[in-house]
Amino acid sequence: MRPALSVVLFTVLSGAGLGLFALLALVQIAGADSSLSQVMHLASGLLALALVAAGLLSSTFHLANPKNAWRAVTRVRTSWLSREGVLALAFFPVALGYLAARYLGWPAAWQTVLGIAGVLLAWATLFSTGMIYACLKTIPQWHDRLVPAAYLVNGHLSGALLLLALAAVDQKALPAYVALVLVFLAATALVKGSYYRKFGSRAGAHALPNAIGMTAARAKLLDAGHTHGTFLTHEFVFRFGREQATLLRGLFFALSLLLPTIVVGAGVGDPLMLALTAVACLAGLLVERWLFFAEAQHVVRLYHGQQTV
């Protein structure tokens, strides 16, 4: 699949925002001693919402006809894309309500109810984003339960790192936040490690002869019937080298997993260093998300001559 840069950017930014909000609210609702001060809590929450909003906006840049984008909320019954849109839109007022409740000191019950509702909406939105890809049977590398899992853990990893940096700015005790980062570092390593192991060198289940109904013979493409590219070759036949993929996977692991592990493990408490680590992690996640597209193979490639997908 050709990586759509606006979608890559959208899912990484909004994922970080949703993860940051969920963890921010959970730490505060749990009543941890080290939960952020009133002002810092509001600022962090608004940063999370800004990331989600920036992501949603950037996702509209890949639409060929954005004037109809408002209609994307009308098919929640069948479409994960529609569900994601509705959940993301529902998330904003609830999240804002929770931030206001905390900042203005509304009753604790209000804070808890709004906070939990916001967290559930953030999780549902992240899960829906993953399901947009995982529900497509046409792309084996996406049609897998590890895909929504990756969207959830990636969002929470970048969110946990941002929250750690914000807690450092707020001069709070860091161990609880460090623990969160470590949990999601392990979870991300597990999910993405399993994903790359599963799809790294797997022969495809769909074969060209089967695709044209010639199950008992070998088949090869003689002529694709077009002189230059088509919409299909442009959208689905993205090729890049295997060495490049290995290099980029390494870059993702180094930036998003190894670097944060070293920084956190070394007990760094400097807010600037932690913020830079969070940014590096986000850069690594951009690489991961780009690869997620670039390495995905659509079955229509069979009809264009690829032997297996």
């Binding site: 699949m1 890949h62 639409l63 060929a64 006809n65 954005p66 004037k67 109809n68 984008a69 209609r71 994307a72 909320v73 009308t74 098919r75 069948t78 479409s79 994960w80 894309l81 529609s82 849109g85 947009i132 529900c135 497509l136 049977k137 046409t138 792309i139 769909h206 060209l208 002869p209 089967n210 695709a211 044209i212 109904g213 010639m214 013979a217 070998r218 088949a219 090869k220 493409l221 003689l222 002529d223 694709a224 019937g225 077009h226 002189t227 230059h228 590219g229 088509t230 919409f231 299909l232 959208e235 689905f236 659509h298 079955v299 229509v300 009809y303 264009h304």
Partner: protein, 233 residues
Amino acid sequence: MRLGLVIDLDTCVGCHACAVACKEWNDGSKVAGPLPDYDARGAQPSGLWFNRIRHYEVGEYPASKTLNVPMSCMHCEDAACVTVCPTGASYKRADGIVLVDPDKCMGCNYCSWACPYGARELDENAGTMKKCTLCVDRIYNDALPEAERQPACVLACPAHARTFGDFDDPGSAVSKKARERNGFGMLPELGYRPVNQYLPPRKPPEIDVGAEPTPQTGALERLQALAAQLIRR
């Protein structure tokens, strides 16, 4: 109703007349048109087609055959392109035809990702997704003589490889042909239940034309070939 096509892979000669007729009719169609071309007379011509014909070699020489495979929308019974569409622009009619409402489409390409057959292409000028309409503006068109109320591709095919009809009617030409000739739908394992059926090529009579036998590749032969190569060097 379950309207669709039967395509005979035995008689299709791969002439692309169906695709040209499709382009011609639909370019002027109020339902689907226009079908733009990009850089049509330039160095890298491309464009929007509802029907694409690809050519394959099946089997190994001398027992090989060229297979011409026209592909357009299969008007699937479980059309994933319809269920994934977030705006409701993609829909399936009671007669089985899958259509796109350009007034609702936001051009997100998601339906084209869900289609395994490459049947949907984006109109870069209009910003909306387009696809085969099964010539919905021909088959119900009272202004046309009854014999011409068929998809343009079916009428144009010089080899009569394409037949249009209702698969829910067991007596229709499409049902009979699919039944008698072991018609199959493409990529059935995905579970979209494509309506269009393809008729596999008939087994050709074997005619000895004195073609070279397939070279044997046993261990001894390979050793001999290797030795010959080494000696030549």
